[in-house]
């Protein structure tokens, strides 16, 4: 056991499977930002998103034995993050339709207290507001493209969608975003 900062993924996975918590902590550190971009991009920058982020890595830990290395580890983690986030959105929608008459926008929270730079705070708030007004199926492709910087092909692979579907969603999301950003 020791520092795993320069260790490659295969070794980290083997060590994690052997119960080495430091190795798994290194995997969490390497991919936490990527997961945060997906989860917070979809749910908003809140403590609830943090809980979903934790769930992503807990699920990853419990499914490490099933990971056969056919896809990249990043893709595997991203798929878990997308599935858990979409499940959370569905759960929230069900909750709101049962107990509240409020709109969807109130489901998503945003905390910007930690950003001191006024311009950066405004920019982040703008992106948050625009994303939250998008339909979730468009929001996820936008998050993959705009926040993660994935190509169309990579986005299709992550979301397990046909390339044509991703292209059409991107185009429709762009149309929607133009209208939304015009009003903000």
């Amino acid at each position: 056991m020791g520092s795993y900062t320069n260790t490659d993924e295969v070794e980290l996975l083997k060590a994690s499977l052997d119960g080495d918590q430091l190795a798994f902590a290194e995997i969490v550190n390497r991919y936490r930002k990527m997961v945060a971009r997906t989860v917070k991009g979809m749910l908003g920058d809140s403590v609830f998103a943090e809980d979903i982020g934790q769930e992503v890595f807990i699920k990853l830990y419990h499914s490490l034995a099933e990971f056969r290395g056919e896809a990249k580890l990043a893709t595997y983690i991203q798929r878990i993050a997308v599935n858990l986030t979409l499940n959370e959105i569905k759960r929230r929608k069900r909750f709101v339709s049962m107990f509240s008459q409020t709109g969807n926008n109130e489901l998503y929270e945003f905390e910007v207290a930690d950003i001191n730079d006024e311009e950066k705070r405004e920019a982040k708030e703008l992106v948050h507001k625009a994303l939250m007004k998008l339909d979730p199926k468009f929001r996820i492709v936008v998050a993959m493209r705009m926040l993660q910087g994935y190509s169309t092909r990579e986005t299709a692979e992550m979301l397990e969608l046909p390339l044509g579907t991703v292209l059409s969603r991107l185009s429709r999301a762009q149309e929607q975003l133009k209208k939304i950003l015009g009003k903000l």
Binding site: Q21, R32, K33, G41, G53, I58, E119, T152, L167, L184
Partner: protein, 119 residues
């Protein structure tokens, strides 16, 4: 960067012919970045370790139960063997009759016992 420029950047990041990785990096430089709290990794590991302890305790319980069951089953088998040996030593055989305690009883005696006609 002004908000209007950021809006343009957002829109252009969705263009099919754009370079999404570069645009995402530019947006990140403008403050549109996401990360979890500093304690995030620690919390994940803590949760995993806590659940690991529960799993260990459950496994320990199952192991204790199975070893207890094994001992009880062995004791039962030993008791049956001892009973059979003692029957064999007392009755001279381990037939059904000797098992029922009727090994050295004549058929007539049984009829008398069952009918109640002792004389």
């Amino acid at each position: 960067m002004k908000l209007s420029e950021i809006k343009k950047l957002i829109i252009s990041s969705l263009d099919i012919n754009s370079a999404p990785a570069d645009l995402a990096r530019q947006l990140e430089d403008e403050g549109i970045s996401f990360d979890f709290s500093e304690t995030f990794t620690g919390k994940v590991i803590e949760k995993l370790y806590a659940s690991g302890q529960v799993i260990n305790r459950e496994l320990e319980f199952v192991r204790t139960m199975s070893s207890a069951f094994y001992r009880i089953a062995l004791t039962g088998v030993a008791a049956i063997v001892i009973l059979l040996i003692s029957i064999f030593m007392m009755e001279g055989s381990i037939s059904l009759n000797s098992f029922l305690g009727l090994g050295d009883t004549f058929d007539e005696s049984i009829i008398c016992l069952l009918t109640g006609n002792l004389y």
